[in-house]
């Protein structure tokens, strides 16, 4: 089922005039208010159960039209990439045209544009699931789909799901990497919105507790589910809305429940959190975040630069009645106004950082000194 729009195809169509073509969905006359399609990124080591999870989703959601992409988009060389579409219990193969053109100065990623083009020709999906290879940086894959709202894309990033093996996960997380290299398994947990500890039937309770604690020590905010054979309630996996303001109210609640974590592993990824009361200056907050994420200016007590993998927060700006939501993955970040009003509640700014070499005291001190606008301090 090759979709390429090429001269050859239309010419052969001219010749075979007697062939009845396949019908396509009715094209809307005007641009409809875009119903956006969520993209869920599923990551984890080989064998953890990602494919099992995918198949499970496809079978359970058989009345939805779901696109599945395997192994994220490779480096520049491919002209096409296959994509599987599940509908009514059947699986079909489709092709994404990765237009070569000028990838250089185009804002949207090649892969993203290819999916949008496909949807334009063949109609929208209900969900898009992307399974990454075991060693990929899911943050980098996510940033492909975490596009500016201004681009009016049909696609939005819904969340990152990491599947970890209850039996081998701990070993993977503890694997020592060469100086400067990050443990991929740990990074996959750090960046996740949901972690599924799979194959719980293969381990004793004690081991399972260890895995859970280690995951929690890396990422203080992630939702953790424990499964056998990747069987999970799909309402916990799909429609996470982890990157948009719909999550605003939920995020505020979740942040209040986060406890700071202690390192289980050396040189590891940690979660750091602090709360400060008061109003922030928008410019100073931006400068703080940019110094942290882009310039990597903040050093810990051992003079190592702090590296943030995931950043979330609810903050207050003077004069703004609504709570502002802060989201970051690697170097990309966004500040958006949520529908939640502060009302009479105390304006508590809560920020959570997941990454390496983080030092809560240094960060908090700098934050209070430069970002808080009025003198209301904690």
């Amino acid at each position: 089922m090759n979709l390429k729009l090429r001269c050859a195809d239309s010419h052969s169509m001219m010749e075979e005039e007697d062939d009845c073509p396949e019908l396509v969905p009715i094209q809307p006359q005007s641009v409809p208010p875009a119903q956006q399609i969520p993209v869920t990124i599923i990551t984890g080591y080989l064998g953890a159960g990602k494919t099992t999870l995918l198949n499970y989703i496809l079978t359970e959601q058989h009345n939805k039209r779901i696109a599945v992409i395997l192994n994220e988009f490779g480096e520049g060389s491919a002209l096409e990439k296959s994509l599987a579409v599940s509908q009514a219990g059947e699986l079909y193969e489709e092709w994404l045209e990765l237009r070569n053109g000028c990838l250089c100065c185009s804002v949207k990623d090649n892969g993203l544009k290819a999916i949008e083009n496909l949807m334009e020709k063949k109609g929208k999906f209900d969900y898009i699931l992307l399974e990454t290879t075991g060693l990929a940086d899911p943050g980098a894959v996510a940033s492909m789909f975490w596009v500016d709202a201004e681009l009016g894309s049909d696609i939005y990033l819904d969340g990152i799901v990491t599947v970890i093996d209850a039996k081998f996960g701990l070993q993977q997380l503890m694997e020592e990497k060469a100086e400067g290299f990050i443990n991929e398994a740990a990074r996959q947990i750090a960046v996740a919105d949901l972690t599924i500890i799979n194959k719980t039937d293969l381990v004793a309770e004690e081991e399972l507790n260890q895995v859970r604690d280690t995951v929690r020590s890396i990422n203080g905010l992630v939702k953790i589910l424990e499964t056998q054979r990747s069987r999970v309630d799909l309402s916990e996996v799909l429609d996470l809305h982890s990157f948009d303001i719909e999550d605003g109210a939920k995020l505020a609640e979740k942040l209040q429940l986060v406890k700071p974590t202690r390192p289980h592993l050396d040189k590891s990824i940690l979660t750091v959190m602090f709360e400060v009361v008061g109003d922030l200056s928008e410019d100073s907050l931006n400068a703080f975040i940019q110094d942290l994420l882009w310039e990597k200016k903040f050093l810990n007590t051992e003079k190592e630069p702090m590296t943030v993998i995931r950043l979330k927060g609810i903050v207050s700006f003077a004069g703004k009645d609504r709570q502002m939501m802060l989201q970051g993955v690697n170097e990309l970040y966004e500040l958006n106004e949520t529908p939640q009003l502060w009302e009479e509640n105390q304006r508590i700014n809560r920020l959570i950082f997941i990454g390496r070499n983080l030092d809560k005291d240094i960060l908090e001190k700098h934050f209070i000194a430069t970002v808080i606008q009025n003198s209301e301090k904690n």
Partner: protein, 404 residues
Amino acid sequence: MRFAPPLTPPLWNAAAGMATTEARRECETEGCSKDAKLQCPTCIKLGIQGSYFCSQECFKGSWASHKLLHKKAKEEKNQNEAKNCVEKDINTDPWPGYRYTGKLRPYYPLTPMRLVPSGIQRPDYADHPRGMSESEQFLKGTSQIKILSPEDIEGMRVVCKLAREVLDIAALMVKPGVTTEEIDHAVHLACTARNCYPSPLNYYNFPKSCCTSVNEVICHGIPDRRSLQEGDILNVDITVYHNGFHGDLNETFFVGEVDEGAKKLVQTTYECLMQAIDSVKPGVRYRELGNVIQKHAQANGFSVVRSYCGHGIHRLFHTAPNVPHYAKNKAVGVMKPGHVFTIEPMICEGGWQDETWPDGWTAVTRDGKRSAQFEHTLLVTETGCEILTRRLEENGRAHFLSQM
């Protein structure tokens, strides 16, 4: 994953998930009054309105009579286009079935790819079979912005000056009757005469030495056999490679006398660029430029193209930073002395949405209205920036200003 062999290709139902209320449509098949949610794709291509059907089976049933509609439409189309299409061996319909957004057409065939004399230094992609740049691919995804050394800066000053010379030569040729290929030829010769490689040539297999974008073409227009017409606006985008560095700039020109709307569009676009340049200095975030540009464009009733952005440039043609031209973008990076990048806003009379011709390059506005662009390569200095591609005569004024 196992695939089911598609005997009858499935009918996609796009209605699921689309939140619009649309009038109920009835199936076209004689005698069938079921709800129709599907459409004949051939009718869409031929511009025949409203061929709605309820199902593939029903459609097959009425195929014998329905296909006569196609035959009729094609005969009419052939009669009309036979004249335009293959006159004097010029083909203006290389992709039958493609629906153009405006009046512009490609004028094929293109002349064979031009060669560059062997003594001239070539960028890595020049000899790659698919025109890929390994040096660019290597750095893909990184947001680290290079700070140029004094030697690098000198190299950039030289190449940008040469790029400006080539653009000024192209500017002299813009008048009704000249084809964009003729301009490209002159550009090619001007480059090689200056010991420069024309950067666009074979960049990801781009077939020509510069980009020529007419009217509704936003950018990346391919020079072809079309003669410029009185009233057109034309952008010529020049990038040259010399001594290991690239220099990039573009200007929009008037072809003969143009209407007031064109003048306003081109003037506003130029102002958008210059205002953005005015705000460049160390400490400014790259994401801020989009706010400046969009504010001015919107104030004049125009929109800003979002799909294409400015870029870092030095030893690589396109590299970090990414510089979107629209407001509220997530561009990463803060300007520092020694950074070199382009700002190249594309501003449109109508909507900002773009689409690409089947040649894989030519970007046009979806509504077919006109778009203008201006570009400079800039060096961030301690106090502001230096416009490396500035014009050295006429007080640095853009060419169109002499024709206002």
